[in-house]
Symmetry: C2
Subunit: 155 residues, 2 copies
């Protein structure tokens, strides 16, 4: 029996682990999992056949959603690293998105797994800015920038 | 028997009407419908209870997705108006998103219908830029900008 590899989202506290995009406790959601890969972060995702823009291609809303969640996961990883800690140590980090920019560079094909890669641009106080690239079949099809902030107490 | 009110998406040609966010032919999708309301455009949407960010609030990916689709619908409406035509006349307009910017201003509550409103900022050649505002319970919770372009032939 192999143990399931954990993403940073698997360390979100249970009361804030219901995000449709990346929460481990959302039964209906995408369950995106984000890891370190060298100095970059990585998530992988295979869309369903109905996540269509036009037949054969992924709709932009899913791409925006995954860039968003990969950005908040990346922010949490960056915040742990910034404190020389690893996910699973306390206190846990949980970021939300303040702003999201997505450039759709070319159509993203359906039917294959794609890869999201994140680069940390800035870690400052409670804010992390990252640049996210989405690759399908090793081709860059969308690029985004995510400004994430630590979840405020009133959320 | 009342006839269902049509949004601009109901006039998308059948071969490009499968968008998960707004295509009338996507069985699983959101079926967003966009109309004129004076000089602005409007769509309404009620999220499912599992479209969660954290319990009680809508996840940002859905918000980004709806702003995206409301932006492409707004672009199609603006293009018809620019030619003094109405949806249903030929040739039909079908736009896709080149870039999307979303600012999440405050948490968007789950459990209620929300309203998306679009303002046309620019109509130039095959490009339409619009500003989209999302209101929940009459409060502005997210704001976006969508650069939409007419769907290229290779899509």
């Amino acid at each position: 029996m192999t143990e399931e590899i954990k993403g940073v989202q698997d360390y979100y506290p249970n009361d804030v682990a219901h995000c449709y995009g990346c929460g481990s406790l959302n039964e209906h959601g995408h369950h995106l999992k984000t890891f370190w890969d060298g100095d970059e972060t990585i998530s992988r995702f295979t869309p369903k056949d109905y996540h269509t823009a036009v037949p054969g291609y992924v709709y932009g809303g899913l791409i925006a959603s995954l860039i968003d969640c990969h950005g908040t996961g990346t922010a949490a990883l960056a915040a742990y690293k910034n404190e020389n800690r690893i996910p699973g140590t306390n206190p846990p980090f949980r970021f939300v998105t303040a702003s999201l920019q997505v450039d759709f560079l070319k159509p993203t094909p359906l039917g294959i797994e794609f890869e999201l890669r994140g680069k940390i641009l800035e870690v400052k106080g409670k804010k992390v800015i990252s640049e996210i690239s989405l690759y399908a079949d090793n081709k860059l099809t969308a690029k985004g920038k995510v400004v994430a902030v630590q979840m405020p107490d009133n959320f």
